[in-house]
């Protein structure tokens, strides 16, 4: 079983490392956000007394990179089940749950690497973590967020069978989750309904946790973040595993 998990995980990593174009392409968007918003809104944010906007923004953009990569690697199942390699795994004499676990772990690892790359980019444009000792904690938040959204993407892709579904997820789930997570602006001054929506948004806890780990714990409530992310991740893994096991094509 472990050998199977390992080779499925390794496959995702090899795919990531080998397609440089994809890796660079997927860093373009976070970089654009960092530069355009970071430098564009920086002075305004500073004048309003918020401090350095690049510092504030970076954890949010890391979370964005993780969210997008993770969701996409889950959603890939939509076409993979008809035209891709997935079909090869669906007829193999291996419990589906193992296939799902291997894929999801691989996808989450790749999304975490993506987050690390964004962190690297951010440090090029001036971001500095306040406490280097907390970097492993930041990694843990990235991985947990990655696992959560890879599993969620897989769960959704298991029940959808065309690309219209993909558009729906993109416009009504991924984008709102990103914009309403506190990635781009502080939630503490957000109007009531928005704060309420943000509190229901899983990404909010990923962003908050990352901000805590990278900027100092005083900025957020990391134990709560860990708890919420942990519970949601477990839930999504179970749900994703079930729905994936039931795939018929």
């Amino acid at each position: 079983m472990l050998r199977i998990l390992y080779i499925l995980w390794l496959r995702q990593l090899k795919r990531y490392v080998r397609s440089r174009a994809r890796m660079i392409g997927s860093l373009g968007q976070p970089l654009l956000f960092l530069v355009a918003l970071g430098f564009g809104l920086g002075p305004v944010y500073q004048k309003a007394g918020g401090g350095s906007y690049i510092q504030f923004l970076t954890p949010g953009i890391i979370a964005m990179g993780v969210l997008f990569t993770a969701m996409f690697s889950g959603i890939e199942v939509i076409w993979d089940k008809q035209f891709g390699f997935l079909k090869e795994t669906l007829v193999a004499p291996v419990p589906r749950i193992v296939i799902m676990a291997g894929r999801t772990l691989g996808g989450a690892t790749v999304a975490t690497l993506q987050g690390v790359l964004v962190l690297g980019l951010a440090s090029l444009v001036g971001f500095r973590p306040t406490n280097l000792a907390l970097l492993p904690l930041a990694l843990a938040f990235m991985f947990l967020t990655a696992l959560l959204f890879t599993a969620l993407g897989t769960a959704l892709a298991s029940i959808l069978d065309d690309m219209q579904g993909f558009q729906l997820i993109m416009n009504f789930l991924i984008m709102p989750m990103f914009f309403l997570s506190g990635a781009l602006f502080p939630l503490k001054d957000a109007p009531g309904p928005m704060g309420f929506i943000a509190a229901l948004n899983p990404l909010t806890y990923g962003v908050d946790g990352l901000r805590g780990a990278l900027l100092g714990a005083s900025q957020s409530s990391m134990p709560l973040d860990l708890l919420v992310l942990g519970v949601l991740t477990a839930g999504c893994l179970v749900l994703g595993g079930r729905l994936f096991s039931r795939i018929q094509i």
Partner: protein, 263 residues
């Protein structure tokens, strides 16, 4: 002995009965061609035989394993080449084979040798370390055949294995399969739209239309009973001249979307 036994197999999608109570047997060592016009129920049947789709009714036994109660037993006993490629294009030929070997739990110590053997069989040994995305359509098909055979299956399912390939490659593929069928006694279950190919290789054919099997005979018997000189003419006599209009399915849209998204 019959290696595939199917009884009363039925599958409906919404109100449309794609496969309507079909029964047939395939003997061990046969090359069995499953023929029918577009939308006749061929692919749906293959999906049920290979455990990708659960039948509404009916019984499937493959190599003594019941598809309803012993899915993994069925899965171990067949290899399959799908209509749409299912290779990982970013991986090399050898890596694709290796993944298959691990999924089917082949012992690690024999795996490398077995992979070489199968790659040699389909003349791809010299390309083993190249990424699959650099392969032509014919090479991918050959690699899929080699992969499908890696775990010593008793039955090989081929869903339109030669579609889109040039005559040379088609010739090669049939030659491999016939060689394999003779030397290893492997049973081949195939669908194809090329009646001349079916006539040449199949020991028995079944013709399915509107979800029902019309005939199951040897090509010679079929020609004799319809009084036609080729399998193609016999096929048209049985299934009619009308062209089948298959609506563009969500699969066709997906195929297009995938091309666009391919990175």
């Amino acid at each position: 002995m019959d290696i595939i036994q199917v009884e009363g197999l039925t599958k409906a999608f919404g109100g449309f009965t794609a496969v309507d109570g079909i029964s047939f047997d395939v003997g061990a060592g046969e090359i069995f061609a499953f023929l029918g016009p577009n939308g006749a129920g061929k692919t749906t049947t293959i999906k049920m035989l290979t455990t990708l789709l659960h039948p509404d009714r009916g019984k499937i036994i493959v190599d003594g394993h019941d598809a309803a109660s012993d899915q993994d037993g069925v899965r171990r006993s067949f290899g399959i080449v799908f209509q749409d490629p299912s290779l990982d294009e970013e991986l090399t030929a050898r890596e694709n084979m290796e993944l298959h070997g691990v999924l089917y739990r082949l012992p690690s110590k024999d795996l490398a040798a077995r992979i070489e053997e199968m790659l040699r069989f389909v003349d791809l040994l010299d390309r083993k370390n190249q990424k699959v995305k650099t392969f032509s359509g014919g090479m991918k098909r050959r690699l899929e055949i080699a992969r499908g055979l890696l775990h010593h299956p008793k039955v090989l399912f081929l869903d339109e294995p030669t579609v889109g390939l040039d005559p040379q490659t088609r010739h090669h593929i049939w030659e491999y399969l016939q060689r394999l069928n003779k030397s290893e006694g492997i049973t081949v279950f195939l669908t194809t739209h090329y009646m001349d190919e079916a006539e040449k290789v199949a020991t028995r054919v079944a013709i399915i239309d509107h979800g029902k099997i019309l005939v199951q005979q040897t090509p010679a018997e079929l020609k004799a009973s319809t009084g036609k000189s080729s399998l193609e003419e016999a096929f048209i006599q049985l299934t009619g001249h009308g062209i089948r209009h298959e609506e563009a399915s969500s699969n066709d849209h997906l195929r297009a979307a995938r091309r666009m998204w391919r990175r």
